[in-house]
Amino acid sequence: MASKLPRPVIPTFVALLILGGWEWFVRSGRVSEVLFPAPSHVLAWFWESLLSGELLEATWVTMRRLIVGFAIGAALGVPLGALCARVRWVRDTLGVLALGLQTLPSVCWVPLALLWFGIREEAVLFVVVMGTLWAVVLAVQESVLNVPPLYLRAAQTMGSNGWHLWSRVIFPAALPGVLSGMKQGWAFAWRSLMAAEIFVVIIGGFGLGSLLNAGRELLRMDQVMGVMAVVMIVGLLADLIFFSPIEGWLRRSRGLER
């Protein structure tokens, strides 16, 4: 029976059931609507802030920070990771440092960033860069070290070396690993940015994290939950629109999956 239904039917049904139950539960007066708003209230906030432009502006501010911070982190991380893979003593120093710093939750950079840069855009960017950089360095180092030696031998006998070997063999061979490192770096950047925005409210740059924190201060739980949902959706979309297609194409073109 169930197998005859199209696949999205059951998830949609379950989702509606949960939302309906939630709505009913809140409206029945068993909990405070202030602390636990009904889905309809969250949706109402969403619609309202979408119309006022507040939500789109906050999303734009956040996305701009994320993209700029991620780009800086990746642009620094790729050459540093390659250097770690290439030079033994860099790997033993910077590589080990990266390993240590990567385990540090990026929110831990916030106090330092505030002291160094003040309550400014740079502080937020710094936290995002720190969140991205080490994951990218480690992923690039790992994937360059894992390039099959056979490719290098084959290329070298054909006269490839130096920059040619790097750009035409090592980097293309390491690309799938580098890309998953970027994806991981993106996830870290996204988390660190939210942490930074909740802590650092910059005049003229009101991002999603700031909006979330403002919701807490105004005791508007519909806003808090609404922003949480938007943060989730943005994260999902980045993966669906950007990373997954590139990764899928890369894997298919190399026959890594059937």
């Binding site: 056979l150 490719y151 031998r153 084959a154 290329a155 070298q156 006998t157 054909m158 006269g159 490839s160 040619h164 035409r168 063999v169 293309p172 061979a173 690309l175 073109s253 190399r254 026959g255």
Partner: protein, 262 residues
Amino acid sequence: MGNRSATSPANAALTLRNVTKRFDGASGRVTALEDITLDVREGEFLAIVGPSGCGKSTLLSLLAGLEHTDEGSIRLGEQPVEAPGRDRLVMFQQDALFPWLNVLENVLFGLRLKPDLTEAERLESARYYLNLVGLGNKEKARPHELSGGMRQRVALARSLAPNPRVLLMDEPFSALDALTREQLYGDIQEIFTKRKKTIVLVTHNIREAVCLGDRVVLFSPNPGRVQQVFDVNLPRPRRMNDPALAALASEVTAALSSHLAK
């Protein structure tokens, strides 16, 4: 032709003199090759055969310039061999095709490293060699879309296209099934006869060595040494099931077992 072991380097493409190579292994110093003196003549198909551990693959790496001798010298013509170079291309046991390039781009890889060619000449040459190995219609395919035999054919085209002085083959047929292998033996002999290329083949398959080589050099293990050199004076193209070839192969096998029994 006279005495083979003392060929004058005048007509030799590769000259090996007293080559010794050692490795530091877990159980101490291991001598992989000891005192190898050998000449590969211009336009000759030389097959090096021996059991595993006889250092034959090490020898090929030395010829390719991917590793260095501890003692002795290797020269290509008059040039000492010190580093990898386009004049000595290698076909490896695995095809080593780059998965991010299609078939044509793989063949073009080595050609693009030759600065004296125009792009049109490179394309023409790549297509010529792809046709030669019978894969002219596969130039847009990705390596993973091809069978093992086809991939090894592309690898052959890739090694031949830059027109190296010497082609080095490191057991390139060992990962293929028997039927595909036989086909490739035919292809290689045809190309060898047509192009008059100097080829050094390393293999553990004695029949394969006898089928392909003008001379078969038998290596003995621990440490790797030249045990005996056999001339193969059979007409080409040779076939694996030719009785004369089988007879010569068993002669080589007998020489090998008599040495191992010692």
